[in-house]
């Protein structure tokens, strides 16, 4: 890999919720321009928190970054508003969809282009999204609240695409999507990444998928990065295989056979 520019540089951040709950304990990561990076990790590891810290959405959750720094192309961004960040091309797709319940699917998508002024561009983006997610087109006039979970997820991703971003923070894009659609979503990610040079930082549980598409991966546990490396390396790491890919001992284990009591291995006690 020829050393590309680093777009996002997270440097030893600590995050505290509610003044007392320390969640991130010194997280550092780099996302190179035009690449796809993945944050992997179990429930509660702090993936969402990391993304929120980058996009400055912590405040509404009563969290704050207490240590460390976050840089976007060399510029400190801790004090920017989320809207400033979107203007600089950084958009987050939030975990749990967060569609605007009362707006129709199409209106939801259009709000995504709030920062875009060019009518033609907006229309083109809308077409692009409908192309990616034909299902959305058929539901364009229903209120988002009354669409299925998967449709909402598509809507949330589509809405982010509408902003013509250069960096997308994707929080669990695969959650609740049918396998085909998951595949499609990652294909779309790849597509955008290759054709439009969009950089991605993806927090994902679906390790298998994420490592297949990502260039680089970070593994997170209890608020710390415990392992990182090129996606291929991680995929071949034995521990990762066993705990994140469910392929201990080289073979995929049936979910039926794991029922006996099992001690989890952790990198950190």
């Amino acid at each position: 890999m020829s050393a590309p520019n680093i777009v996002l540089n997270v440097n030893g951040i600590e995050v505290i919720y509610n003044h007392v709950i320390l969640v991130l304990k010194g997280v550092s990561l780099n996302v190179p321009e035009g690449k796809i990076a993945a944050i992997l990790g179990g429930n509660g590891a702090g993936k969402t928190t990391t993304l929120r810290a980058i996009s400055n959405l912590l405040k509404g959750e009563r969290g704050e970054v207490t240590k460390g720094s976050i840089e976007l192309r060399g510029e400190r961004i801790e004090n920017l508003t989320p809207a400033d960040l979107v203007n600089r091309g950084v958009v987050q797709v939030m975990e749990g969809r967060h569609c605007f319940a009362h707006l129709t699917i199409e209106e939801n998508l259009l709000t995504g282009s709030y920062t875009r002024k060019d009518k033609g561009e907006i229309a083109a983006n809308l077409d692009k999204v409908y192309n990616y997610f034909p299902r959305l087109k058929t539901r364009r006039t229903s209120q988002a609240a009354y669409t299925s979970g998967g449709e909402q997820q598509m809507c949330a991703i589509g809405r982010a695409i509408m902003a013509n971003p250069s960096v997308v923070l994707l929080d669990e894009p695969s959650m609740g999507l049918a396998p085909q659609i998951v595949e499609e979503v990652f294909e779309i990610v790849k597509d955008l990444n290759q054709k439009e040079k969009v950089t991605f930082l993806i927090a994902e549980q679906n390790t298998n998928m994420a490592l297949r598409y990502a260039d680089y991966g970070y593994i997170m546990e209890s608020g710390r990065i415990v392992m990182d490396g090129a996606a291929d390396d991680l995929r071949n790491n034995e521990d990762v295989k066993e705990f994140y890919l469910g392929m201990g001992g080289g073979e995929r284990k049936s979910f039926k056979d794991v029922k006996s009591y099992k001690r989890r291995k952790r990198w950190l006690a």
């Binding site: 509610n18 003044h19 007392v20 320390l22 009563r62």
Partner: protein
């Protein structure tokens, strides 16, 4: 360092389910009640009793009631003033119309009628939610305002619409002096706060909170929204009604419907939100805040002014009081949207960590 639950192992669920599972808390609260019941009467002067402690106790009681409805069951109500009024007027009627009616029975019967009215006005909650319900409960407020000033029966045909009671006594003990009144109200508050706490930590309380947090899910696990909501209205208005009776009988002595106007409803809602929705303790904090702060500001400002040789007119004091009061409300909400009770618990959490930052 000293505030730890470490080492306090619970050996039974019963012990773990206590109201205050941490021993330090238990002692603190017992101490507080002891101070309130013994210390305060020895130390405080008449003004403090009449202008601060007694209103505080009664409004705290009402706030506990409102908190059950608003904080625990999530049904925002702006009709609490009306339920207080029902409690007051019905207690009055029971008291004066039936000879030899004991005071406590009269007050409880006020609560009972408030319950009926509360349930009646709670019926829309089965269909109407959130702010719509809040505004709809104003119907109760305005209707009761009207009924008590227009229907002569309620005021025992008093020409002015103002009524009064006197000669209060309980078990032969007079409730006359400020200290007696104070202790009377204190015991009501302690008993009802305890009962309320019991309810909210039992099955019914969980039903209320379930309805508050996610009503569809609640009904799927078998909670009947109707029963949960109406029981919250009932319990809440009972307590509020009793508080209304106390407010009228013990604090005011003589009153008119304006004593339970919409301002009172707002005041109670303030207490609940500032104190902490869904916290019995919070209701007390909230009541203390709302009762004491304006009075404090009102007296503090002229005093502070006089220090710098400034004579502030009462109008200016009053306006400044409004401004500071409003600003403080906002400030508290910003510091902790979940109220003083939450602030309190965060403080305790910090104390547990202390002296280590994390």
């Amino acid at each position: 360092m000293f505030y730890r639950e470490n080492g306090q192992f619970k050996t039974s669920y019963s012990a773990d389910q206590q109201i205050f599972p941490i021993a330090q808390d238990r002692w603190a609260i017992l101490g507080l009640i002891a101070i309130a019941a013994i210390g305060v009467p020895l130390l405080a002067d008449e003004y403090l009793f009449r202008a601060i402690f007694i209103p505080f106790l009664i409004l705290a009681l009402a706030a506990v009631g409102v908190n059950i409805l608003v904080g625990f069951c999530g049904q925002i109500s702006l009709g609490s003033g009306a339920f207080m009024a029902v409690g007051a007027y019905m207690a009055y009627n029971t008291f004066v119309r039936i000879d030899g009616m004991p005071l406590i029975v009269a007050l409880l019967s006020g609560g009972f009628f408030a319950t009926l009215v509360g349930i009646f006005f709670g019926i829309p909650s089965l269909r109407v939610k959130g702010l719509y319900l809040a505004v709809a409960t104003l119907a109760a407020q305005f209707f009761c305002d009207w009924a008590f000033s227009r229907i002569n029966w309620f005021t025992n045909n008093s020409t002015s619409g103002s009524v009064a009671v006197s000669g209060l006594e309980v078990f032969g003990l007079p409730i006359q002096t400020p200290v007696q009144k104070y202790l009377f109200c204190l015991s009501f508050l302690v008993v009802f706060a305890l009962l309320a706490k019991n309810l909210v930590r039992s099955a019914i309380g969980r039903e209320w909170m379930a309805i508050r947090d996610m009503d569809v899910a609640a009904s799927v696990i078998g909670i009947r929204p109707m029963y949960a909501k109406l029981s919250a209205f009932a319990v809440s208005s009972f307590i509020v009604g009793v508080a209304g009776g106390l407010w009228a009988f013990v604090h005011l002595g003589s009153w008119e419907p304006a004593a339970f106007s919409i301002d009172r409803s707002f005041q109670l809602l303030f207490m609940v939100i500032i104190g902490g929705m869904g916290s019995i303790m919070g209701s007390l904090f909230g009541a203390a805040f709302i009762v004491v702060l304006p009075i404090f500001l009102n007296q503090f400002m002229p005093w502070a002014g006089s220090l710098v040789g400034l004579e502030i007119s009462t109008a200016a004091v009053s306006h400044t009081e409004f401004m500071i009061f409003g600003a403080l409300i906002v400030w508290f909400l910003i510091v902790e949207p979940h109220g003083l009770a939450k602030l309190w618990s965060i403080g305790k959490q910090k104390l547990r960590l202390w002296p280590f930052p994390h």
